[in-house]
């Protein structure tokens, strides 16, 4: 028994393997190479029978917090129970029923002075200098109260919370949110998970490039084996897009009304509604890239989709009931794709004119891929997940993928871009590569005829390698037992659909996987976020404890807690 104990100790210190505890994402990432010794649950005393008592039913509520919406629901469900927004109507005083006034629906709201586009509709923004955290707390508290009272309908038993957050968040904002959840909703513990990782989970992947086109900014996160490895962001996101749409509608309305009447100023709701209803994005990039060289085989397909002028030009009639007088305007269908074009891709601007934080999406994705290590890049580039509210815009995903593909074709994976003579060399190298590629392909097709000619020996580089019987056998074995070959696909640009971060969180909670960041209520109330361990990684395997019958600490309890990526 003593030797067994010694071995157990060694194994515990060697690595954090899985051994009977509920698995964690990070554990799944590492291959457990250590022996699997059984873990004696510390709650069950040495002489008691195992089982029964220690599996406390941990029930979760799954929340996802974004800057404009909060989603909430229960694990194992495919859609959230509620999606709550932070519009003007949600911010009214109690007992203010003006939104039910039939006249009110026809009035257009004006933007307040000095207020940014859509500021009233945000829960928070990352620039905390402009944020009243008290107001954030008020808004969030009211939304959560609605979620609990109207949609969750829970009994009195307190529930743990699985909280999906963006991976970078100011600590004061986080503690505002945690204050509400711990204080007003009595959560015994809150588990934080970052939304790109959860989006990856909801796509069924382990590594991915997650492009989250959110409200204020687009966040490109490279996730490798369930860990964030790289992150880039740009301000080209929903806010810019809807502002651009409002400009378009204002121009269309100004054309419509006769002179003399006051200039129309479309409200946020109207622009948002038009965008979500009839907004779209051209799924093929414009062909004015003269420098772009497509391989001979693919170019005709791309050229085929030139903007064929349709006669009559299709158009969409948009009602404006809030306008005075209520009106309808007819907008050419093609123009409804322009806001997405200008705000997300900015095709007319040279690359050097962009500031660091406003790169167009495809360039941002390309640069993120470029800065990844080669093997991670190989995995990520064929697992591009586009998510976030704007990604529902029809045509946008196709467009982004096509643009990225074109960029890769054009530039390859060379971080050196335009450096005088270097660029010429670059072109040359690319062309050479392409020629070799073409040559190979042609050879592949003509192989039969060539092999008929025994006199000309193939160069060594083009010869088929000798087949190793053992290699073949191993490959067979791997095929039968291991992952199917499609799991290791890489090296090409490919988009993968995800169900979204909330669904990922729901899946994670359903499988009872515990995250790295788990905050206990008592500890949080004592120290706040300051109580977190400075280390980013905390051993998630419970430390071995003496097995005496007096041990009563819960199995799940940890000595310290960390903030992980949020630290």
């Amino acid at each position: 028994m003593s030797s067994l104990g010694g071995e157990r100790k060694v194994s515990a210190s060697l690595s954090r393997s899985i051994r009977g505890t509920t698995p964690r994402l990070a554990d799944l990432a590492s291959t457990p190479e250590s022996p699997r010794t059984p873990l004696l649950r510390s709650t069950s005393s040495l002489f008691g029978s195992p089982g029964g008592s220690f599996r406390t039913e941990d029930e979760y509520v799954v929340l996802e917090i974004g800057s404009r919406f909060v989603r909430g629901g229960f694990p194992g469900e495919s859609t959230p129970r509620c999606t709550l927004s932070f519009g003007l109507e949600e911010q009214r005083r109690m007992g203010d029923y003006r939104q039910w006034d039939p006249e009110y629906g026809h009035k257009r709201r004006k933007r307040k002075r000095g207020e940014e586009w859509g500021q009233d509709y945000e829960l928070y923004r990352l620039d905390l200098a402009q944020v009243d955290l008290g107001l954030v707390e008020d808004k969030f508290e009211r939304a959560m109260r609605e979620a609990y009272n109207k949609y969750f309908l829970l009994d009195t038993k307190p529930r743990r919370i699985l909280l999906a957050l963006p991976p970078k968040m100011p600590h004061s904002l986080m503690s505002t949110i945690l204050d509400v959840l711990f204080g007003s909703f009595q959560a015994p513990s809150i588990m934080l998970m970052s939304s790109p990782v959860l989006s990856t989970v909801a796509a069924g992947l382990r590594s991915a490039l997650v492009v989250d086109i959110g409200w204020a900014e687009t966040l490109v996160t490279a996730v490798s084996e369930y860990r964030e490895v790289h992150e880039r962001r740009t301000t080209r996101a929903a806010k810019l897009l809807s502002e651009e749409m409002a400009k378009l509608l204002n121009a269309a309305l100004a054309n419509d009304v006769e002179d003399g009447s006051p200039k129309a100023d479309v409200s946020f709701e109207e622009a948002d509604e038009v965008l979500t209803r009839v907004g779209w994005c051209k799924s093929k990039p414009k062909s004015n890239r003269n420098t772009l060289y497509f391989p001979a085989r693919t170019s005709p397909i791309l050229e085929e989709f030139e903007d064929a002028v349709e006669s009559p030009e299709p158009s969409v009639t948009i009602p404006f009931t809030r306008n005075t007088p209520p009106t309808e305007i007819t907008v050419p269908f093609a123009s409804l794709a322009k806001p997405a074009e200008t705000s997300l891709f900015a095709p007319g601007t040279a690359l050097n004119e962009f500031d660091d934080d406003e790169l167009p999406l495809h360039h941002l994705i390309y640069r993120a891929l470029l800065s990844l290590p080669m093997d991670v890049r190989r995995l990520c580039m064929s697992r591009i997940i586009i998510t976030g509210g704007v990604s529902a815009l029809p045509g946008l995903k196709t467009r982004i993928l096509a643009e990225v593909e074109a960029l890769v074709q054009q530039k390859g994976w060379d971080p050196v871009r335009s450096y005088g003579s270097a660029s010429a060399r670059h072109e040359q190298v690319l062309r050479q590569q392409r020629e070799i590629f073409e040559l190979r392909r042609q050879e592949g097709e003509d192989k039969v005829s060539e092999s008929l000619d025994p006199d000309a020996p193939l160069p060594a580089g083009l010869q088929d390698p000798e087949e190793d019987a053992i290699d073949a056998k191993l490959a067979h074995l791997a095929l039968r037992n291991g992952a199917p070959p499609s799991c290791s696909i890489g090296g090409t640009i490919r988009g993968v659909e995800t169900l979204g971060a909330w669904a990922g969180a729901s899946l994670v909670a359903q499988q009872r996987i515990r995250g790295i960041v788990e905050i206990e209520r008592e500890r949080y109330l004592q120290h706040g976020l300051q109580g977190a361990n400075r280390e980013k990684e905390v051993s998630v395997v419970p430390q071995r404890q003496s097995m005496g019958p007096g041990v009563v600490r819960g199995a799940g309890e940890r000595a310290s807690w960390t903030l992980g990526v949020w630290a």
Binding site: T79, R109, K110, T398
Partner: protein
């Protein structure tokens, strides 16, 4: 605001106590400290979260404080459907979710309750049945759904997809997944034997399938992760599932535990790391451009009317839809009866009767019964001003929606006392209202007393409390004299407040600079509303309440009384200032 003028809002204290949370940054704490002696600003966006009509507030008798919905804890007593008033047991809520599982549905277009109608043209109301909206005439015919029975709609609806195709249940899904997996593995085995065979045609047929629904993908993913995790942790000797020693595998494991040699060999086996999903049946969906193109084509063809508004989308169970043909009728959300406890002392503040159809309460501690009600109304101008001769005979209704800028107007602040003890009241208000439009406010008599809420008949029987002569507070010039109350009754007192409504636009010659840019600016929503923050402080002597008296009994006197005071901010909405 949207309440008809004039109105009164009460501010709950939790607003103040929230101001000094530990989470604030240092600069904000400083700012908060400065704010200590500042007046309540009804224009600040935070005030919307702390102001309530008096009727919405509760009162904790132990903490002697107002309790707003924010500072109570709520406990659900029972669940019911507001449409059919059927009480749903908590186990059903847990298993079937937060919606009515009977025939209650709301229209996805206009949210009004739907009715079950028969499509049968003969008069006996036979099948097929549909759900139809009596308000906007939307019906399930538009999404191609008809029902065979007129009862159990939700179970029928759960089995029909839009267009009439059946939806597989969870069990059927699992079975189908197993079948496909087997098919796939057999194919793979076959390929192993045949070494390199071409893709069988079955993969092509799979591609022709319509894109899987959100639910399908989710259940596929869930099953995939479950299988992977089970493959990861097979040897959990104390897992509650295989604790029995009857199964040979469990026995084997136990033996392995205690025999060193065999266990070492076994432990060398590395389990493969969890892999990612590889195919559609495992939940992997590769982006498909044709779906995008189809959606664009559809918008182009069908235009605005076929798409959904954001509100309509959000009320759907699955909000990731775009077109009208994807709508589903919405099952009615259940409602709950909840009891409320004070957050700090956990005493129950309100508890309804558990019977669904009863609206009575077992416990109900309303602020209405503990806090004086403050209200405002316009002072009939005959008494206040030198009456204009023409209008004196017929008094026009005072128009609260058009207050005249710059003209002093008198209002009556009316304070009624629900307590059984007389109270002494001190009112305070900032001399100018906060916000862009600054109005000057003066309470002519800020300190006064209000009688106790005694028996109604006392008023009639006692003749001592005669009404004050109006003439006495109007002096010779027709001005109202400061420091005197206007009127008083059994448990109420009213005082006069003088308001000079401000100017919506800066006017030259009134001490304000007419700035070009400023003058151009339009007023935002509600900025022309005249709201006066009034601080109310009441003092009274009350019986020592039961618990404390119990302690005090040892020392003696039973009829001991204690001084109490309460203070709170209120906001009085007077009216709208008319533009000039």
């Amino acid at each position: 605001m949207a309440q008809p003028f004039p109105y009164t809002y009460y501010a709950c204290d939790c607003y103040d106590s929230n101001n000094t949370t530990s989470s604030k940054r240092a600069s904000q704490i400083l700012a908060a400290a400065e704010e200590e002696d500042r007046t309540f600003d009804p224009r600040s966006p935070r005030s919307n979260y702390s102001l309530y009509p008096l009727e919405h507030l509760l009162y904790c008798e132990d903490c002697q404080q107002i309790r707003c919905p924010r500072c109570v804890l709520e406990e659900t007593l029972n669940w019911y459907c507001p449409s059919c008033l059927f009480e749903v047991p908590s186990s059903v809520v847990k298993s079937d979710g937060n919606r009515c599982t009977r025939n209650c549905y709301n229209c996805p277009i206009c949210t009004s309750p739907m009715t079950v109608n028969s499509l049968d043209t003969s008069n006996d109301n036979g099948p097929p049945y549909i759900l139809a909206c009596p308000y906007c005439h939307w019906s399930t015919v538009e999404i191609g759904i008809e029902f065979e029975k007129h009862t159990g709609i939700s179970s029928q609806l759960a089995r029909i997809a839009n267009g009439g195709k059946p939806i597989p249940t969870q069990k059927e899904r699992d079975k189908e997944r197993e079948r496909r997996k087997e098919l796939g593995s057999r194919k793979r085995d076959g390929r192993d034997v045949l070494s390199h065979s071409e893709d069988s045609p079955s993969t092509d047929t799979e591609r022709d399938d319509p894109p899987p629904s959100h639910d399908d993908v989710f259940s596929n993913l869930g099953a995939f992760y479950k299988a992977q995790i089970e493959a990861q942790t097979p040897s959990n000797p104390f897992s509650p599932h295989d604790i029995t020693f009857s199964s040979p595998s469990a026995y084997n494991r136990i033996m392995n535990l205690y025999s060193n040699t065999s266990s070492k060999r076994n432990k060398r086996q590395k389990p493969a790391p969890m892999r990612e999903a590889a195919s559609l049946i495992e939940g992997l969906t590769v982006h498909n451009p044709s779906a995008d193109a189809a959606a664009i084509e559809r918008i182009k063809k069908e235009g605005w009317a076929a798409t959904l508004s954001p509100a309509q989308k959000l009320t759907q169970i699955n909000p990731n839809i775009r077109f009208e043909s994807d709508l589903r009728p919405i099952a009615t959300l259940l409602c709950t009866k909840r009891s409320k406890r004070c957050r700090s002392c956990r005493h129950i503040l309100s508890k309804p009767e558990s019977k669904i159809t009863s609206t009575r309460y077992k416990i109900k501690l309303l602020a209405l019964n503990h806090i004086p009600r403050l209200s405002i109304r316009a002072l009939p101008s005959t008494a206040t001003m030198p009456p204009p001769p023409s209008s004196s005979t017929q008094q026009p209704q005072f128009n609260y929606n058009a207050l005249n800028s710059g003209i002093p107007t008198h209002f009556l602040l009316h304070l009624s006392n629900p307590l059984f003890d007389p109270i002494r009241v001190t009112l305070a208000t900032p001399s100018t209202t906060p916000g862009k439009v600054q109005s000057r406010v003066t309470i002519l008599c800020p300190q006064f007393e209000v009688g106790a809420n005694t028996d109604v008949w006392d008023d009639a029987l006692s003749s001592s409390l005669s009404p004050i002569k109006r003439g006495s507070i109007i002096n010779a010039d027709g001005q109202i004299e400061a420091g005197k109350i206007w009127d008083r009754g059994r448990n109420w007192t009213s005082v006069v407040i003088e308001v000079v409504p401000g100017f919506l636009k800066p006017v030259a010659g009134f001490g304000q600079q007419v700035d070009g840019a400023d003058g151009e600016e339009e007023l935002g929503e509600d900025e022309d509303v005249l709201e006066i923050p009034v601080f109310v402080r009441i003092e009274f002597e009350a019986d020592v309440n039961a618990e404390e008296r119990g302690l005090g009994d040892a020392r003696g006197s039973k009829g001991e009384r204690e001084r109490r005071e309460e203070a709170f901010w209120t906001v009085v909405g007077v009216g709208k200032i008319a533009g000039m």
